[in-house]
């Protein structure tokens, strides 16, 4: 057990509600993800995989258990410190892209950099570079509603990459995409992982999971399978 695991959750449970109506979304999950891994988390709906993703992304806090992200205990952090962790260490990619409407692609990519207190010029440069990386430099001034689904998701990836996070956390990233765009996005994940970036993808599609090198299956709030596939 190396001390520098990027993600290390121990005995995490998550319960919504209380008493008779309590819903146990996670019933004790322990998981370690080393830097540079490419992990797919699979499970049917209601299995708890989304809850797991939210906890991994510091969007939600566990009811019980500990979460060490990059060596520091996230559970003890204040709301603002958690915001800082989200901004610095995690890049989110969502199924519904979640771009800010009526805001250009470039401004969307700049947003996390703004929250990270970067200067204007620096922000511009890094955002442009990130857009270039996803091949959308020529769409910088387009608004989300002027972009196709695949393009929107690529903007979202650029936004997730802009701050140079250690982890890319993708929640059903291809759920709303056609086959061609899915290939494009997954190819991008492959490349990013090849460059050493840690990628965690939540999915229920087998062909998406097949691209990962480690497969974790969640059912009924527990990890039922954890195997290295490639």
């Amino acid at each position: 057990m190396s001390a520098d695991a990027l993600i290390d959750i121990r005995g995490v449970t998550k319960t919504y509600g209380a008493g008779e109506t309590a819903v146990h979304a996670l019933r004790g999950v322990s998981l370690r993800v080393e830097a540079g891994e490419y992990v797919a988390v699979m499970g049917s709906s209601g299995s708890g995989k989304s809850t797991l993703m939210n906890i991994l992304g510091c969007l939600d806090v566990p009811t019980r258990g500990e979460y060490f992200l990059d060596g520091s205990n996230v559970a003890g952090l204040s709301e603002d410190q958690q915001a800082l962790v989200r901004g610095r260490k995690i890049g989110f990619i969502f199924q519904s892209f979640n771009l800010i409407p009526r805001t250009t692609a470039l401004a969307n990519v700049e947003l996390p950099l703004t929250y990270a207190h970067l200067r204007r010029a620096e922000r511009r440069t890094r955002a442009n570079r990130a857009l270039e990386l996803v091949g959308l430099s020529d769409r910088a001034d387009h608004r989300p509603n002027q972009l196709s689904g695949g393009q929107q998701q690529r903007v979202a990836i650029a936004r997730a990459l802009a701050t140079g996070p250690r982890i890319l956390l993708a929640d059903e990233p291809t759920g709303n995409l056609d086959v061609h765009s899915t290939d494009e996005v997954l190819g991008m994940f492959d490349e990013l992982n090849a460059e050493g970036r840690t990628v965690v993808v939540i999915t229920h599609e087998n062909d998406v999971a097949a691209r990962a090198r480690r497969l974790i299956q969640v059912a009924d709030g527990r990890i039922v399978l954890d195997e290295v596939t490639r």
Partner: protein
């Protein structure tokens, strides 16, 4: 996030829904504009009354009799009306410097009304004043063209007349041509000696629709030998009005043998007091208007809250995204607070501009006089309204848990 970025985000947020922002701005601007305009109207009407009263002369006392006196016990015979009637002897006594040293001049006033005719043109003068030449300077009524009548005219009951501006124009077309002409008042011909300078209206009556004749002539031709309507007393100095009033009261009480137990049958109005009273009234009036306007400002503020609440609900998902991207609580708070404050500040600026334009015109017959502090106050209040009414929605936005905000559909 730097202030500039916050500001930019807030501006983008507002411009995303232009019509809604515009209507909210309108609500605030109506409130701010109403405060400034209504305060200016209240102030303007107060100022107008004040200047007219000052034009009337602030060292003026008007004595009239209230009639029966009042205050006497039941069964006891009331004093006859004649006992307290004001007479020309009273005027002579008041004019005596030894008896009333603080009185500068005294003029008797009898009023009547009548129809004046010039050939085929006739005009009903609602106030024909019979008096002495002292009346004009005492009441600050200068003669515009021609001249006043003299004490000699009074002594010999000459049939001469000084017309008010309106009367002269009604009868002769142009006021200047009236001097020297003859006017028939009732059945008697009067020679026009002069025309009064135009006076500002003090109320509902046109002060220019008058005619002034020697009191002796009026008594002989129109009003008979009844009591005087008023005695106009001019104090020697503005600071001696109270002294003069005391002397007049004392003198009249003594002359008419008013019992000490009854309330004074004479009413003496002091123009300085009227001025004070009217200023108080104007202040109350202004306060009332300002209150009404303040209510509309509060309503505008509630509009800001309402719109911000809608905005926060509508943009819950956006807030969730921003939080997922690392936005801190105070960043979200700042963005929404700035949005709310911008809404009300823009509203405030528009309101001030509209008010500045509106106060250039007469409103309800009043020339508004801007109160500079009301502008500062209205602007300050509008900014405060934004901060105050915007803080609740902004806190709600900032307090959203990212996961709840992201799940919001």
């Amino acid at each position: 996030m730097s202030p500039r970025d916050l500001f930019g985000a807030a501006l983008r947020g507002l411009s995303a829904n232009k019509l809604r922002s515009l209507l909210t701005v309108l609500g605030v601007s109506i409130g701010v504009g109403a405060v400034i305009v209504l305060v200016a109207v209240g102030n303007g009407s107060g100022k107008a009354v004040q200047s007219r009263l000052e034009a009337m002369g602030t060292n003026l006392l008007t004595v009239s009799t209230t009639g029966g006196g009042g205050g006497f016990a039941r069964g006891q015979a009331g004093p006859s009306a004649q006992q307290y009637a004001l007479t020309l002897d009273d005027v002579a006594a008041l004019a005596d410097r030894r008896l009333a040293p603080d009185v500068a001049s005294v003029a008797p006033v009898m009023t009547s009304s009548g129809t004046a005719t010039n050939g085929d043109t006739s005009y009903t003068i609602n106030q024909v004043i019979g008096t002495t030449p002292a009346y004009l300077p005492a009441t600050n009524t200068p003669v515009g063209t021609g001249q006043s009548f003299t004490q000699q005219d009074v002594d010999s009951a000459e049939r001469v007349i000084v017309l008010g501006q309106t009367t002269a124009t009604e009868l002769f077309g142009r006021a200047q041509t009236a001097v020297g002409q003859t006017v028939k008042l009732g059945a008697v011909d009067f020679v026009v000696r002069g025309v009064l300078a135009s006076k500002d209206s003090t109320g509902f009556n046109d002060p220019n629709a008058t005619a002034i004749v020697p009191i002796s002539t009026l008594r002989a031709t129109q009003a008979g030998y009844g009591a005087l309507s008023q005695i106009v007393v001019q104090a020697a100095d503005k600071d001696r009005v109270d002294l003069a009033q005391a002397e007049v009261t004392q003198l009249l009480t003594a002359r008419h043998q008013v019992p000490a137990t009854t309330t004074s049958p004479f009413r003496i109005t002091n123009s300085a007091q009227i001025l004070q009273t009217s200023q108080d009234t104007a202040a109350t009036f202004t306060a009332l208007l300002a209150t009404v306007a303040a209510i509309s400002l509060v309503v505008g503020g509630i509009g800001v809250t309402n719109i911000m609440l809608v905005t926060v609900t509508e943009r819950t998902r956006e807030i969730g995204i921003r939080k997922a991207l690392g936005a801190r609580r105070r960043t979200i708070l700042g963005q929404f607070l700035i949005e709310a404050t911008l809404l009300s500040l823009i509203g405030g600026a528009v309101g001030v501009a509209a008010a500045l334009i509106m106060t250039q015109f007469q409103l309800a017959g009043v020339t508004p006089v801007l109160v500079p502090s009301s502008i500062a106050l209205a602007l300050g209040v509008s900014a405060a309204v934004g901060l105050f009414f915007g803080s609740m929605p902004a806190h709600r936005a900032a307090g959203l848990r990212p996961i709840d905000a992201l799940r919001h559909e």
